[in-house]
């Protein structure tokens, strides 16, 4: 683009008055601003001692959990929708025929690699039975990579730990069959 291109609009700088050119009002203005901020209350959260206030835990995307139904069984029906939706491919499910009459399959093993996960929440969106959910736990640490691969028991224990502070997001607690869900649209 040349300087005389018609799309270039040259804005005139506002003319400085004498007071601005004296620099003094700006000088005082700047110093009062910084001095005011110097004594203001600070916004930093002192993390290990203080925990940050999480606005709405229900929409926070932290560590996953696998929900249980009323009978304490894993809610998941091993439909693989979450694993399909996952952009990071961190969910690994091994399905097996269900021992319970109300569903066809259940996950024999269900592992999430928490280090690969990008916490996008697509699994939660995809889940037809609201079995996988993201909690508001954010300070996830471990000493090895293996430790950070969460298996089914670990994910269920996350549910046990968080179910009181963060109730399940689905309104009904009953597990619907995938087919029913699909019929209802």
């Amino acid at each position: 683009m040349k300087p005389d291109h018609p799309d270039i609009q040259i804005l005139e700088e506002p003319e400085l008055g004498l007071a601005e050119r004296m620099y003094l009002p700006l000088f005082v203005d700047g110093l009062t601003t910084t001095a005011k901020y110097l004594v203001r209350p600070k916004v930093t959260t002192q993390f290990p001692e203080e925990h940050p206030e999480i606005g709405n835990p229900l929409i926070y995307r932290g560590v996953h959990r696998l929900n249980r139904d009323e009978q304490g069984r894993v809610k998941c029906v091993a439909c693989f929708l979450c694993a399909t939706a996952c952009p990071a491919r961190c969910i690994d499910i091994v399905a097996a025929p269900s021992p319970w009459p109300d569903r066809d399959k259940y996950p024999e093993s269900f592992t999430i690699d928490e280090l690969r996960c990008i916490y996008c929440g697509m699994c939660e969106e995809a889940c037809p039975v609201d079995a996988i959910e993201l909690t508001s736990l954010f300070d996830l640490t471990g000493r090895s990579r293996e430790e950070m691969i969460f298996d089914k028991e670990k994910l269920l224990s996350v549910y046990d730990k968080t179910k009181d502070s963060e109730p399940m997001k689905s309104a009904s607690h009953s597990t619907l069959r995938v087919e029913d869900r699909l019929e209802r649209g």
């Binding site: 300087p3 040259i10 400085l16 910084t34 901020y37 203001r40 600070k42």
Partner: protein, 397 residues
Amino acid sequence: MTIEHVTVEALIKIVILASGVLAGAAWLVLVERWMAAWIQMRRGPNRVGIPWTNIRLFGLGQPVADGLKFIFKEEFDPAHVSRGIYTLAPIIMLVAALGVFAVVPFGSMIPSLGHWMGTEPIDLMIAPGIDVGIIYVFALSSLAVYGVILGGWASNNKYSLLGGLRSSAQLIAYELPLGLGILGVVLATGSLRLDAIIHAQATTGWWFVFTQPLGFVVFVVAAFAEAGRLPFDLPECEQELVEGYHTEYSGMKLMLFLTAEFIHMMTASVLIAILFLGGWHVWGMTPPEQEIGWGEAILRVAVLFIKTFGVVLFFMLVRWTWPRFRYDQLMALGWKVMIPLGILNLVAVAVLGEISRDQYGMPWGSLVASWGLLMASWLAVAWVAPATTDNRPETTD
């Protein structure tokens, strides 16, 4: 006093002062980081305390941790530097910065310590009675330019060289107004000795900031530029020059550079406090009598330290208040504004001193005249605006 006594006394003072200045620089870095954090509504370093305990001491252990970190860091010399000069540059810089303190009086003096040190009171200055005090300060503080330009040159890196060039041009440009600002004080005092300058202010009770406001403004602006602090930190210029002349430095050499820069700021603060803010003098608290006891001596030291600390805090507050000048603005301000104002101040001090020489009591007339001069010259600068330049593309219409 024998020559041995003088030597021992000087050595003791050197040890105390050198360690004190270095420790002071370390903890002032902490203060600066606190100020930076607080102004940005953060908390700043507040965790490092006593190791292996949970005692945090508001982060007062941070400078020790930082120092240890620098010591144990790898000192990496790039292959393309000229080794000798590259090593010499930070050393020159630190030595020059530390050497300035030889003639700076910290307070005035303390009473004699007993027989073996003689019966005279002891000056709180490493080299008492040097008649060229201020000239010595200038000679050494302009040596810092060598550290900067040698560091920039030896780094063999175009950004470092640019930083070094900018810095030397800036330091030379601001050396002149700095000297002119001081000349007024020297003219009014009739002495180049810093302790004599303090004493002159203490006896009249009129600090030079009141009688020579224009000189004060010129000196403070020039001191900011000399110390390379924002808004005049062109040599470093993190955003454009990636730290300028010390880009290639690491480890202890980098620490020497950073410490020297910080000591420059401390020197500038001490000089401002001594030359214009009355040194150890406060009305009604520290009378200018020569015979002093211990209480008086300690009070004077405390007053000078508080004043210096206040100026340092001002330096730090300014850093987070103003953006950096553009380089042409910096040069225009130095050559077109500060040097003429410095000369004007010098002439005014001479003329007013000559006129009010025979009058007794308060120099009200010259006081009004000098403040009037400050306002008039400030207005004139704003009116003419030599530092304002238009660098927008010219449109043909």
